[in-house]
């Protein structure tokens, strides 16, 4: 028996004690369970960050988003255009210092392809109160297939540091039940905090 400070002499490549063997086997088995769970849940679960990804010039992305906004704008909220896109369409959300634009008005149970990108620095897409978080990187278009599972008034918090006014970068997404009138905005109320991350049926990217 010697401590970790002494140079072991002779052959130290010795058989492993039973207790250690059992522990290593248990730990290895558990690591294999973890290893299997991620791909399994990637295929089985409904909450994965996989999507369409490609490089995009920030100005080209902005032009696409502006065209999208012009085509489907239904109103204005706090100076931001409110956009209600048709079901199944490609929708665009632009992050820049320090706002998210436009305000999206979506329908529950309808699939959209949400394109996220930034015009300047990294931003963080954090959907409140569902707590879904996506990195938004300038020069990259992240197209996520989303189906809002719950109607409500959602907030977008920027959770990647993006400069001095980072804390003012809050956006809005409204999800209405199917059959609600196209226009007529939900007034900007407080988002209820009772819904937690557990209610993650919505926004299944």
């Amino acid at each position: 028996m010697h401590t970790g400070l002494e140079p072991p002499r002779g052959v130290w490549w010795k058989p492993i004690h039973r207790s250690e063997k059992i522990w290593i086997a248990l730990a290895f088995a558990w690591c294999m369970v973890l290893f299997a769970m991620m791909p399994f849940w990637h295929l089985r679960g409904g909450q994965n960050p996989s999507g369409i990804r490609h490089r995009v010039d920030p100005q080209a992305f902005l032009a696409r988003a502006q065209e999208f906004t012009a085509n489907y704008q239904v109103g204005e909220d706090n100076g931001f255009p409110v956009v209600e896109p048709p079901p199944g369409s490609d929708i665009y959300l632009v992050g820049r210092m320090w706002n998210w634009s436009p305000v999206l008005r979506l329908r529950r149970g309808v699939e959209y392809t949400l394109h996220l990108s930034s015009l300047d620095v990294n931003h963080g897409f954090s959907l409140y109160p569902l707590n879904i978080n996506i990195q938004v990187v300038p020069g990259y278009d992240y197209g996520l297939r989303v189906t809002p599972g719950e109607a409500g008034d959602f907030r977008l918090v920027c959770n990647e540091f993006c400069g001095i006014n980072h804390h003012t970068m809050v956006g809005r997404i409204i999800v209405v039940d199917d059959g609600a009138p196209v226009v007529g905005l939900v007034p900007d109320g407080e988002v209820s905090a009772t819904r937690t991350a557990a209610a993650n049926a919505g926004g299944r990217p």
């Binding site: 028996m1 401590t3 970790g4 400070l5 002494e6 072991p8 130290w12 490549w13 492993i16 250690e20 522990w23 290593i24 730990a27 290895f28 690591c31 973890l34 769970m37 991620m38 791909p39 990637h42 679960g45 909450q47 960050p49 996989s50 999507g51 990804r53 706090n78 100076g79 996220l116 990108s117 300047d120 620095v121 990294n122 954090s126 707590n131 879904i132 978080n133 996506i134 990195q135 938004v136 990187v137 020069g139 990259y140 278009d141 907030r155 918090v157 990647e160 001095i164 006014n165 980072h166 804390h167 003012t168 809050v170 809005r172 900007d188 407080e190 988002v191 905090a193 009772t194 937690t196």
Partner: protein, 524 residues
């Protein structure tokens, strides 16, 4: 070696022959590390008092500046200077050898200090409000990047000196058999450091050129390569921390190595699998596909997790056998009950193992999965995790070993001994509360690195659950408790080193290192 014989002293406690250059290099690195810890610690208190919304101390600009200062000083300067001291201890001192090429070693140290000063200057003058990660295209002053590069070059030199000392010790036959396990662990840390520093060069040199407008930088490529540096550097900390666990076990209770083969293979797993695991930082990034993310994070990461699981068994197991060999054999737990809980080296060791494993490890492994990462990414759950690993784990272990470095290397008695005894309890207890409550706040979606979670001035209102106020209030209390523990650590170390009572030549330092004499005889 014979010519250098006069430059050695024999440690009266451990009987180790300490080369004068090793002695001086350990002291210099440890002192700078403590200064960085002091700066980072003061910054930590300011950050904490700002994020505690009831106080909200700093303005937005100052907050991000101080947060950058906190991150750089703690994660880079404190940790790496301390690790350089660990390398000079685990290499030349444990192998009874000299420091080869002391001039190069000192050049490395000077470069590291110079780089540190450059970075500190840019941060303190507001030229680098880019946070620790400095994600491009956020832009800092070119000297910020150049300072990091100089620091890294200096660290590479120190790592090379460590490798060279292994070669010199073997050639000059300063020890018999294989290198000790602690040295082997430090060797893996040094290898990971070399890999990490290559990533560092690969990212900071282009970024430096970019900051001078000499080349373009892609934001996603930056994140990919930067995390090759950022994550691997944390793995240096893990390998160094585990080495210090074996070291502290030996010094405090004469802990034995259960099986050299098992512990060494576990260290090798760190080297093999950790760089790839950097991918878990990019799980919700647009640049990489799901196959790449899943493959790198699951297969490669879990083999490194296995290594930590093995050390989590062998270190406490070695402590138990060490205590039983000293006669504490009654029942299942006499060895634990009668352990030297009043020795800050021992209590630090146990807290480091427990908090690193149960809080840091479990949160880290779960956040490293795609599906959980999407609900944790960039929320307070992330700093909640790494304050349990790198603060309660690595920093706690390093603090613990300092209580032995002071008598063994600085040859001073540890001052304010009653304070030193409670220091690990305050620090680890505070950090535990801090990490757990921070993680809870993160589950509500509270973002990390955020000046104002009441979102004043934002176009749309958002109010977090009142529970967030509660957990963040508790987080502040835990953080202040840990800061008190950190303050005591700095007081004790600085006072002992500069104004402390000198140890007598034959003094076995009973007060300073209560268990050292016994274990040293077992060790040498």
């Amino acid at each position: 070696m014979t010519t250098a014989a006069a430059k050695f002293r024999v440690c009266p406690t451990t009987k180790l022959r300490v080369h004068a250059q090793a002695d001086a290099l350990i002291k210099a690195n440890a002192v700078v590390a403590t200064v960085a810890l002091l700066i980072g610690g003061l910054a930590a208190i300011l950050v904490l008092l700002t994020r505690w919304q009831a106080v909200h101390l700093l303005g937005a600009e100052m907050f991000y500046r101080v947060l950058t200062i906190h991150g750089m000083n703690m994660l880079i300067f404190f940790i790496l200077f301390f690790e350089m001291a660990v390398l000079y201890f685990a290499g030349p001192v444990l192998l009874n050898s000299r420091v080869p090429a002391p001039k190069i070693a000192w050049t490395g140290f000077v470069l590291m200090v110079l780089g540190t000063l450059m970075v500190e200057w840019t941060m303190f003058t507001g030229r680098a409000d880019v946070l620790f990660t400095s994600y491009v295209p956020l832009r800092a002053h070119p000297l910020f990047y150049l300072g990091v590069i100089l620091f890294a070059v200096g660290a590479v030199l120190a790592v090379c000196i460590f490798f060279a000392s292994l070669v010199v010790a073997r050639r000059e036959r300063t020890y018999e058999g294989s290198v000790p396990l602690v040295t082997f662990g430090a060797l893996t840390a040094a290898i990971i450091a070399a890999i990490t520093l290559v990533h560092g060069a690969a990212i900071y040199i282009p970024t430096f050129l970019w900051s001078l407008d000499l080349m373009p930088m892609d934001a996603q490529v930056y994140r990919l390569v930067w995390w090759g540096l950022g994550h691997s550097s944390q793995q240096i900390n893990v390998a160094a921390m585990v080495s210090v666990w074996y070291l502290l076990g030996a010094l405090t209770v004469g802990a034995v190595v259960l099986n050299e083969k098992v512990s060494r293979i576990a260290f090798v797993l760190y080297v093999l699998f950790i760089s790839m695991a950097s991918a878990h930082h990019l799980l919700v990034d647009p640049g990489m596909g799901p196959a790449w993310k899943v493959w790198n994070t699951s297969y490669f990461m879990y083999m490194a997790v296995l290594a930590s699981m093995i050390h989590g068994f062998t270190v406490p197991g070695g402590i138990e056998i060490g205590m039983r060999l000293r006669g504490y054999t009654k029942g299942l737990f006499e060895w634990l009950r009668r352990a030297p809980w009043g020795d800050p080296g021992f209590s630090s060791l146990i807290f480091s193992i427990v908090v690193f494993g149960f809080v840091g490890g479990i949160t880290g492994v779960t956040f490293g999965t795609e599906q959980i990462n999407i609900i944790a990414h960039n929320t307070l759950r992330i700093p909640g995790h790494f304050h349990a690993t790198v603060v309660s784990g690595t920093a706690m272990a390093f603090m613990g070993v300092t209580y032995y470095v002071i008598p063994l290397i600085f040859r001073k008695k540890v001052a304010f001994w009653p304070l030193a005894r409670i220091q690990p309890y305050l620090f680890a207890g505070g950090m535990l509360i801090f990490s757990i409550t921070m993680t809870f706040a993160g589950t509500f979606g509270v973002p990390r690195r955020h000046w104002d979670i009441t979102f004043s001035g934002a176009p749309f209102t958002l109010e977090f659950s009142p529970a967030v106020d509660l957990v963040m209030g508790m987080m502040a209390l835990g953080g202040l408790m840990a800061a008190l523990g950190g303050g005591i650590y700095i007081l004790v170390t600085v006072w002992s080193v500069f104004f402390g009572e000198k140890m007598e030549g034959g003094d076995d330092g009973e007060r300073a290192a209560p268990r050292a004499p016994e274990s040293a005889s077992a060790a040498v």
